[in-house]
């Protein structure tokens, strides 16, 4: 069996005169967990729907293992997808939902019980989906995606409604898949959940690719900052401001009395404040994370040292 591979080439999707995806290209090798990010209306879901063969591209192509999924006879064995946790008939039981999916996909029936067990729904398989909580529906959607035991998983907002334990379970699941050489594409607005998982980002904005590359490339280009909690914030407010000015440091007071020193190091800040005799309760270096990188990307700011190209061609 060859290693899985996703490839999007010059993908453009228009609805009438409205361009939803504009010449988007990317390539995802095996063993990668891709975070697909972008503001609402940036084209994330459209990209996933075209990739999954639910919609036809106006121009370009999306390939799974070298072929458009719409031309693959057994797509469930190649790609498993959770696009929306409302895609269930409320009167149908979870087990029956998975059963018809397995029959249509040509997957052995015993797999239904396996994925119910895997997603923690074995005790609720005979309940109608209408009685499921949001988190249980998410897990049922994930169970459906796992039916064909595919190499590629595509999840759109998979963390919605999941409790802490289920979130951790999903994180472990996708990490295992990626470690085994699979590909996972996750679109989510919950960056805190994605941050420790993804090793590659594809960021869209207004249908165009804003960034495609390793997360490390984005974060490395961002400066970190130092956060200071003074012991007596009100009394030392002016002293901190003067000390920062004298040392040539940028300093920003926050509403809760803390101070942020962008681009500084703990050593510099602590020395400066010690020289000014400002007592400090706590001081910490805060590194830039996925959230910081994402915010800057979607604001159209280019990041030094990263392959960001905003506007124009996206190849």
């Amino acid at each position: 069996m060859t290693a899985p591979h996703l490839e999007v080439r010059g993908l453009t999707k228009r609805y009438g005169h409205r361009t939803v995806l504009d010449d988007v290209s990317c390539s995802v090798p095996a063993g990668t967990l891709v975070g697909l990010l972008g503001p609402n209306g940036s084209g994330k879901t459209t990209l996933l729907r075209v990739l999954l063969g639910l919609e036809r591209a106006t121009r370009g192509e999306a390939l799974v293992n070298g072929r458009p999924l719409a031309r693959v006879a057994d797509p469930a064995r190649h790609v498993g997808a959770l696009l929306d946790c409302t895609w269930f008939h409320p009167r149908r039981t979870g087990r029956d939902h998975l059963r018809w999916m397995s029959e249509a996909a040509g997957v052995r029936r015993t797999r239904v019980d396996e994925v119910l067990e895997l997603t923690g729904l074995a005790d609720h398989g005979r309940d109608p989906v209408g009685s499921y909580s949001l988190g249980m529906r998410q897990r049922l959607g994930i169970a459906g995606a796992l039916l064909g035991d595919p190499d590629v998983l595509v999840f759109d907002e998979p963390f919605n409604g999941l409790d802490h334990a289920a979130t951790r379970w999903l994180a472990e699941l996708v990490a295992e898949r990626v470690a085994a050489g699979g590909i996972v594409v996750m679109s989510s607005h919950q960056l805190a959940e994605l941050d420790p998982l993804v090793d590659r980002l594809l960021v869209l904005g207004r249908g165009r690719r804003l960034f495609d590359g390793p997360v490390a490339d984005v974060v490395a280009g961002l400066t970190s900052e130092v956060l200071v909690h003074p012991l007596t914030p009100e009394r030392d407010h002016d002293a901190i401001r003067r000390a920062a000015e004298t040392a040539g440091l940028l300093a920003r007071p926050d509403a809760d009395g803390t101070w942020t020193f962008p681009g500084a190091t703990v050593e510099t800040v602590s020395t400066t404040l010690a020289d000014a005799a400002v007592p400090v309760r706590h001081i910490e270096q805060r590194g830039a994370g996925l959230s910081d990188a994402y915010e800057r990307l979607v604001q159209g700011q280019s990041l030094p040292g990263t392959p960001v190209r905003t506007g124009g061609g996206t190849r």
């Binding site: 879901t45 729907r49 999954l52 063969g53 639910l54 919609e55 036809r56 999924l69 719409a70 031309r71 693959v72 006879a73 057994d74 797509p75 469930a76 790609v79 997808a81 696009l83 929306d84 409302t86 895609w87 269930f88 008939h89 409320p90 009167r91 149908r92 039981t93 029956d96 939902h97 059963r99 018809w100 999916m101 029959e103 249509a104 996909a105 040509g106 459906g144 039916l147 064909g148």
Partner: protein, 267 residues
């Protein structure tokens, strides 16, 4: 294809739609036949005692179709099965079940064909049994008014077979219309309004009404079954072929749209 057929059966069995469809399609026609038979039997008995001026001729075997096809406007089984045909598709659009199906199989035409096979497999036995049961009920209830009705004669079997094929044809038309419009209210408007209002009215409001009526689907369907009264000039077999042709055209157009035009994201 076998897997898709099993999947359609699992889907149909796992919601109340199939049970309601079969139950209503089997119960309504005999009920209507019983009501009609009771009324005709009472009139026959009254006239036997009071020598009525306008004696009605007893009905033939086509009386069994009254609860199935209706008389001028659709009867119970036809309405229920056309609604079932449309619901097979529209309920799946409503809950994105069709999109899920397209995620696990790329053969969209086969998904549609599997639904059509299920529809025919349900409609044929149900309509045939409902028609035969209607004949039996009428025979039992109508008394002397059922003089020309012999439920298990060759004529009754012929009427039941033709009635079944007509209902299946209209169910396929409804499926095709649902696939073309993909909208519950538009489909309901066509499926309900056409036979109930438009077809009876069109010959009256359009110039050359009888000429128009000769091409109307329900008029031809009734002619094919043997129910007299319409202005159709073709032979019954040509009328049947005409209805079948309409069904095939709508069905093929609907399946083609389903296979080639992307599903709406938020139905």
């Amino acid at each position: 294809m076998t897997g898709l057929l099993r999947a359609e059966l699992t889907k149909a069995r796992s919601t109340p739609l199939l049970v309601w469809t079969v139950g209503l399609a089997l119960l309504l026609p005999p009920l209507l036949a019983a009501l009609l038979g009771g009324a005709m039997g009472s009139r026959e008995s009254y006239c036997a005692r009071n020598s009525c001026d306008n004696v009605l001729a007893p009905p033939d075997a086509t009386v069994a179709t009254i609860g199935v096809l209706g008389d001028g406007i659709p009867g119970g089984a036809l309405t229920v099965l056309t609604a079932f045909a449309a619901a097979l598709l529209l309920v799946e659009l409503r809950y994105n079940t069709l999109s899920t199906a397209f995620l696990v199989t790329s053969r969209r035409t086969r998904v549609a064909v599997a639904k059509v096979v299920l529809l025919v497999a349900v409609a044929v036995p149900v309509v045939f049994v409902a028609t035969m049961a209607s004949g039996v009920v009428f025979d039992r209830v109508a008394g002397p008014a059922a003089a020309r009705v012999s439920p298990f004669s060759a004529a009754s079997f012929d009427v039941a077979a033709r009635t079944t094929s007509v209902v299946v044809a209209f169910a396929l038309m409804a499926f095709g219309i649902a696939a073309l419009t993909r909208h519950i209210w538009v489909t309901a408007a066509v499926v309900v309004a056409w036979p109930n209002f438009l077809e009876p009215l069109l010959p009256m409001v359009l110039p050359g009404g009888d000429d128009v009526a000769a091409y109307l689907p329900f008029a031809n369907a009734r002619h094919f079954v043997g129910i007299e009264g319409g202005p159709v000039t073709w032979s019954p077999l040509v009328s049947g072929a005409y209805v079948a042709l309409l069904a095939v055209v709508l069905l093929v157009a609907g399946v083609a749209r389903l296979s080639r035009v992307d599903l709406p994201r938020s139905p």
